[in-house]
Amino acid sequence: MAIATDARPQRTTTVPRRKRVRRTKGQKAFAVFNYAMFAIFALICAYPFYYLIINSVSANNLSALGDVRFWPIGFHLSNYGQVFQLQGLTLATAVSVARTVLGTAGTVLVSAFLGFMFTQERMWGRAFWYRFTVITMYFSAGLIPVFLIIKGLGLTNNFWVYVIPYLVQPFNIILVKTFVESMPRSLQEAAEIDGANILQVFFRVYLPNMTPILATVAIFSAVAQWNMFQDTLIYITDQSLYTLQYLLYMFINQANSLATAAQNAAGGSLSSIASAATSQTSTSIQMTVAVVVVLPIIFIYPLFQRFFVKGIMLGAVKG
């Protein structure tokens, strides 16, 4: 899963195999220290996630006090049913999923296409347009001018502000272009001899063979889309277009009104008999929503870790 990081050399037959030297005391102490430090740091990284999860399934009156620390106490799953009755949460989930799917599909296709096209030496002004694209990674006009442009285009309070500005990503284009350059040219020649035009060459021949690099691009942009929060803050005031991230942020900052909202949402049939353990508190809502937001990442990340690692390694190693 993770990359192989063992730098020990392969033994060759010309070098006589040295007997493994018994470790000195210093080395043993170092090894213990080393393992301990990494174990502690890994724990510091992982525990907060665990803490959120166990609290979202524990008795709400205990989790509100910070008393659930090691394992769930008073296990129940009703929080998950109840948060989705909160106003806006289902919609926000739909918006987040939609922007992640559309944004990722869009940028993958565009990166694949542009990355491929920029390898075409016949293209008029290829080198210039490639520079024109890549150089945008290194400057920005700033927040306000971009805001005014987006506003001028009518993209404020518009779902497509989550997709269109992210379609062209120079970094992804570079990744794809490098990948295409490593593919044999004869693929294209053969297709062209058979009479394929450039779009057919791209869609029929190159696109199906680019999956390794496109998987990397897809996974990075999916995570970025899912996590994006700033654009809602800047461009969106319409509540029906809020994303999960933004809603979570509002939930953290509006603990009081949140408790009221929870009461209202639970105001239906069962609320009168709801016990202290299952009636919603602002803490239980925050934690549960946080888990809803983070769970996709926790599930996806270990499965796709090698793609992330590959993404960073592509071209990055030389220094």
Binding site: R8, M117, R122, I144, I198, N227, Q230, V309, V317
Partner: protein, 334 residues
């Protein structure tokens, strides 16, 4: 080390490669292209729509810098707004309160950037030490768990901070139960040690991920170096000190230079989610300040002026760093 820097580094070495490829291709006629050089306008037209997108979202906003010369009122439009020349720029230095505020913002920005640069060696150390862990399962678990925080949003980081450090959060609850404190400590609603806590959060989020690039670089070190050093009698620590670390230095230097170029670009997400009335004075970095002035405070022109200065200085920094890199290493970093 931020992901952004790592990605930029990846991008930059790709650019170098691109230049090399162009050179190589120049020397031998390429097969796919027609060597007699009839350029295809059709292909250009295929990518034109995307070039338009790039123009609209990256180049056209540069025209918006003109707003910094007006007292821009969105209701009136640019035509209706008064032209004020360099009033906003003068105001930045002439009005004492404005001046004091901008100096504080600059201090925050530079402090956080320098703290980031000072700790930029940590991912390298992390990688070198993790490489000494010989049990693959342990290494894999550590890698997975420590890189996970990089993939959550700052909102979630703030949620975690909130659930652990708010007055009814875990830490206060543990401290109260064990009798160390009687009233909850206000970790988040406090103006003390803001720079340090922000640094710690960004380390928590980015350290493991920042190490990946070095772990990758370690696998690329020529095994013969280790073998010959071992034959010369080098021990484990000597291998680390005289082979691994020097071999990683080029990567480190490139990333360091990029973070110097990004001195003023801290981004606003982290600081936006953590800001509150108590820590405002010490948490406001330039990016956040531009947002607060422009979109919260509705002074679009002043915010544009500040953002414009920031962008110009950043580009100059990047070009300078790049020039130094070219002189020193022979290759550019952008």
């Amino acid at each position: 080390m931020t992901t952004q820097a790592v990605l930029q580094e990846a991008a930059s070495s790709n650019l170098v490669r691109e230049q090399e490829n162009t050179l190589k291709r120049g020397s031998r006629k390429r097969v796919g292209g027609k060597p007699n050089g009839k350029k295809s306008i059709g292909m250009f037209l295929c990518i034109l729509p995307f070039l338009v997108l790039i123009f609209v979202f990256s180049y056209l906003p540069l025209y918006g810098w003109i707003f910094s010369l007006y007292d821009y009122q969105p209701a009136l439009g640019l035509q209706g707004s008064a032209f004020v020349g360099f009033q906003w720029f003068e105001m930045l230095v002439s009005s004492p309160t404005q001046m004091a505020q901008i100096l504080q913002v600059l201090a925050n920005t530079l402090a956080m950037s320098f703290l980031g640069i000072a700790t930029s060696i940590l991912p390298l150390i992390f990688a070198v030490f993790l490489n000494e862990v010989k049990a693959p399962w342990f290494r894999n678990i550590v890698q997975t768990l420590t890189t996970l925080p990089n993939f959550i949003s700052w909102v979630l980081v703030y949620m975690i901070a909130f659930s652990l450090f708010s007055s009814s959060g875990l830490v206060n609850s543990v401290l109260t139960d064990s009798g160390i404190i009687t009233t909850p400590v206000k970790f988040l609603d406090s103006g003390d040690h803001v720079w340090i806590t922000m640094l710690l959060w960004s380390l928590w989020k980015g350290l493991g991920w920042g190490a990946i690039i070095y772990l990758a670089a370690i696998t690329g070190i020529d095994p013969a170096l280790y073998e010959s050093a071992r034959i010369d009698g080098a021990g484990r620590f000597q291998l680390m000190r005289f082979i691994t670390i020097p071999q990683l230095m080029p990567t480190y230097v490139v990333l360091l230079m990029l973070s110097v170029a990004n001195l003023l670009n801290n981004g606003m997400d982290q600081y936006y989610v953590f800001q509150n009335a108590f820590n405002m004075q010490h948490i406001q970095v330039l990016d956040l300040y531009v947002y607060n002035v422009g979109l919260t405070g509705n002074n679009l022109s002043l915010a544009t002026a500040i953002g414009m200065l920031k962008s110009l200085i950043s580009v100059i920094l990047l070009l300078t760093v790049n020039l130094i890199a070219k002189r020193a290493r022979g290759t550019s970093i952008i």
